[in-house]
Amino acid sequence: MSTDVTERESETETEPEAAADAASRPGSSTQQRQESDKRERSAMRERAERELAESDRTVELEVYRYDPDVEGKADPRFDTFPVPFTKGMTVLDALIYARDHFDSSLTFRHSCRQAICGSDALFINGHQRLGCKTQMADLEWPVRVEPLPHAEVRKDLVVDMEHFYDQMEAVEPYFRTDDLPSGDLAEQRQSRQNREKIKMSTRCIWCGACTSSCNIAAGDEEYLGPAAINKAYRFAMDEREGEAMRDHRLNVVEKEHGVWRCQTQFSCTEVCPKDIPLTEHIQELKREAVKRNLKFW
């Protein structure tokens, strides 16, 4: 089992820091804290071993490990963690278990644990999925967890999302209108039909699963990608923004690396954890752009 290796590693990682700390503040509680941390860790391990022995089913979690700053982890590899299976366990639950019981250096993003924050999009058994929304019971075992493809890996399961966020910002993802209501306290009402039209597109949680799955976004770095185009759709189709804004938004998405790059592979639509019909939205924007251009003829 490779957990022994990582256990040793995580300790060597913390020791120099702790030693420096102790040197700068002699007689501090650092040493004690370190001692208690160590005790706690071995207690967690013992607990894990007990739980593993007691549990009916154990699932093996194969996790991608990489850290350019740590010797021995600079070459990507997979670590296997045994996790006692419990009913309703998600991939995120299993990862948290592995981190808390076996290797505290195992790194991944998570926050709300209920598919809202969009932090834990991972490549699970070959598909982009949200860790917190994917049941272990629904997967083939052993479960293999990797960072999102087509993004730079920072450490373990954490990828650099900057490029994705840049693309999202490029479509100006905020409500803007020239069409202000007359009265001071008047609301900007949206018709029920219009709300229904954009409903699905508003569900995006910026997790990046779609863009990671997209073959074109992988090859063409300038391509806006499904998430950003869906965001543009959300505002371009919002009638409250008015004609001039809609025109502006269509101009943004119909640039060379905009909607035309989409090859309708449906990969994004397949992986979207919020079930947004991304391909449908991109196609509608293409048609709107063509229709708008044809009008001038």
Partner: protein, 121 residues
């Protein structure tokens, strides 16, 4: 492709034309296969038979249009495939003009062949 002076933006135009030619080609390619493999067997084709078909103005026009649309659809598809794989800058421009020249040559030669097959001229 930096110019957006025209209201008819080139990217959208090519996308749209690719679809229009597709709709035309679906019908004509199927017709072409049926006529030259099932109605007339490919092995029995003679110059006389070809001339008889090509000398009908409607058929001749369809075949020339077939050539032009197929060339556009095919070459544009190749160009798109390369751009999607990240082709950009000078190589992109070079490939673009290479493809344009190849298309023009193909269409010119195709029309020459088509004319040689007729008794119209």
């Amino acid at each position: 492709m930096a110019e957006y002076y025209s209201s008819f933006e080139p990217q959208g135009t090519r996308w749209f034309l690719q679809r229009v030619t597709a709709a035309f080609l679906v019908v004509v390619l199927a017709f072409h296969f049926l006529l030259l493999h099932f109605v007339n067997h490919a092995a029995e084709i003679t110059f006389a038979g070809t001339t008889a078909r090509m000398s009908q103005v409607g058929y001749f026009a369809t075949m020339v249009l077939f050539l032009v649309t197929a060339t556009f659809h095919g070459v544009n598809g190749v160009y798109n495939a390369l751009v999607n794989q990240g082709l950009e800058g000078t190589p992109e421009t070079a490939v673009k003009w290479l493809l344009v020249v190849a298309s023009v040559l193909l269409v010119v030669q195709g029309v020459r062949v088509a004319v040689a097959m007729t008794t119209l001229v």
